[in-house]
């Protein structure tokens, strides 16, 4: 069924606002009609995932084509920001990244700037730029951003891949389907947990277990049994892993997240129940422990908050690393980490603090080949889920165990 278009949308589609918004709206209509969207919904912010490993030459040429349009007809209409880039230019040589990769990055950045996009280069914009509010409709890329915004903030966004998030920025709207609709925000499965995680890797592992059970984008888990009030970084790892393992975009925590003050607010009484014990969380973590030695330690995915960097700096004091340790953060957090002395303390132990990239979005396969890194320890469940396809043997452990591994080259069993 054809989407209902307002007068303004019909003008955009007719090209009266220029070819760039016209192209954007055409793309959005294709997607909207695929999902049976009745119409468009205005959005207040957009967030674009567009690392050049994903874009490739073809994607950059496509962006440059849009950016070549007449000034006044090519700029985004709402605040539109970016996910991490494919490099940290200051550390690109050390990472073994090539001039071709960096040239492609520079071209992509120039094109985005020509379109009026703000290069924030962060996947934790809900911690660093501006968190959305309850019922705010947005067009966010990065699955971790979407699941946190939907679940913890109560905002409304689908997964908007780079082309669609940019289109939303250019038109100020997005097709009204999926998690913009109240009926899709109801829980579809019930999760009962008998163990509340403490460490970030445990929170991520729990998210991964739930994501595997949920299994697809349209599944919405409602979780009971979490004790206390989880912190932002804990829910960041929980949601990012759930989205990664399950393609999940929304969860509810009974009594904690804004739409689920009571179970009955989001769930029917007869929902299928699943129980998750500590053994299930441990089993997921142990399934990745495939070697006792590590080539590299990486903290990334999502980028680290200032608090995480502070914790890491404390663990680095007095240590001397025998294998590389990378800590990846956002361009907003990095200057504060520098001012607080966290960066210097991590680097004094032999670590590297990188900014504006995220490890798996930065030519991870090529880095592995250039640096000889295969066995990788991290506290990110999301990262271990992704890197297997890039030729790594990723292992999941606590931040403390990972720092120990950086010092000794050996990863202890949990």
């Amino acid at each position: 069924m054809a989407m209902k278009l307002s007068d303004e949308e019909q003008d955009i589609l007719a090209g009266k606002a220029g070819p760039v918004p016209q192209t954007a709206l055409q793309h959005q209509i294709k997607v909207g009609e695929f999902f049976g969207a009745a119409d468009f919904v205005p959005v207040t912010q957009a967030h674009i995932m567009a690392d050049t490993e994903s874009l490739g030459e073809a994607g950059v040429v496509w962006l440059e084509g849009l950016a070549a349009a007449t000034e006044g007809q090519r700029r985004v209409r709402i605040p539109t920001i970016t996910d991490p880039r494919g490099t940290d230019f200051a550390n690109a040589d050390w990472l073994g990244q090539t001039r071709t990769m960096l040239d492609l990055e520079r071209r992509a950045i120039a094109a985005f700037e020509g379109l009026g996009v703000a290069m924030t280069n962060t996947c934790i914009n809900y911690q660093t730029i501006q968190a959305p509010t309850r019922n705010e409709h947005a067009a966010f890329g990065d699955t971790g951003v979407v699941i946190y915004s939907n679940s913890v903030c109560g905002a409304r966004s689908n997964f908007e891949g780079g082309p669609s998030a940019l289109a939303a920025g250019l038109t100020g709207r997005t097709p009204r389907y999926g998690f913009h609709l109240p009926e899709h925000r109801r829980a579809t499965l019930r999760i009962e947990v008998d163990h509340t995680p403490a460490s970030l890797n445990e929170w991520g592992a729990l998210g991964g277990v739930i994501g595997r059970i949920a299994g697809n984008y349209w599944a919405v888990p409602v979780v009971e049994g979490i004790e206390g009030a989880p912190k932002s970084d804990q829910l960041k790892h929980f949601g990012a892993a759930m989205a990664s393992f399950g393609s999940t975009a929304l969860f509810h925590l009974v009594g904690l997240t804004p739409e689920a003050a009571r179970l009955s607010d989001v769930a029917e009484a007869d929902l299928l129940r699943h129980r998750i014990a500590k053994a299930d969380i441990d089993a997921l973590q142990q399934s990745y422990h495939t070697d006792d030695s590590v080539d590299v330690v990486v903290f990334s995915a999502p980028q680290l908050s200032l608090y995480e960097l502070g914790d890491l700096a404390s663990l680095c004091d007095g240590r001397r690393f025998s294998v590389p340790l990378l800590a990846v953060t956002s361009p907003q957090v990095k200057p504060d980490a520098d001012r607080m002395g966290y960066t210097a303390r991590i680097e004094a132990a032999g670590g590297n603090v990188l900014s504006g990239m995220c490890f798996y979005q930065s030519y991870a396969r090529e880095i592995s080949e250039a640096k000889g890194w295969k066995r990788l320890a991290t506290n990110s469940a999301k990262l271990v889920n992704i890197l297997g396809g890039y030729g790594y043997r990723p292992m999941l452990a606590s931040m403390e165990q990972c720092v120990d591994a950086a010092a000794s080259g050996k990863l202890a069993k949990s």
């Binding site: 995932m49 490739g56 082309p163 396809g389």
Partner: protein, 141 residues
């Protein structure tokens, strides 16, 4: 003929005919593929080591992150791309990627499409009619 024709709820792209590569597993271009060599690279994937180039991929569900929205377009520019993608359950990213890459896609069936279509069968995808037809191989008329 009714057991050889399957109707999807979601469809886009042009009509194509080709060989089906079928597995009851998920799909993410970032997580699962060696996009340079055109093979499934994730060791745990049921199609690990197999080429997806020019095949009609028939899989269970869209998985993982948002990168596929760009990657299908990039893969098509190099000709290292599936001919079409068919899924039991789709997410917005796969649909957005198919829209940018002009790749045929069907999703949402009344039965498990990965069990209904034999691996290696010749199938036709008709997005205008929202139909998948097994035209040759086991299960065809």
């Amino acid at each position: 003929m009714s057991d050889k024709i399957f109707r999807a709820r979601h469809a886009m792209g042009p009509v194509v005919r080709g060989i089906a590569l079928v597995a009851h597993d998920g799909f993410s271009a970032r997580y699962d593929l060696d996009r340079i060599n055109g093979i499934f690279s994730r060791p745990a994937h049921k199609l690990a080591g197999q080429s997806y180039v020019g095949k009609i991929l028939i899989l269970d569900t869209a998985k993982g992150g948002v990168a596929t929205a760009w990657m299908l377009h990039e893969m098509k520019s190099r000709g290292i791309v599936p001919l079409a993608i068919v899924l039991n359950s789709v997410n917005p990213i796969l649909a957005q990627g198919a829209a940018l890459g002009d790749l045929p896609m069907l999703a949402g069936f009344d039965e498990d499409i990965t069990a209904a279509v034999p691996n290696g069968a010749e199938v036709e995808i008709n997005p205008q009619m929202k139909l998948l037809t097994v035209v040759k191989g086991r299960g065809a008329s």
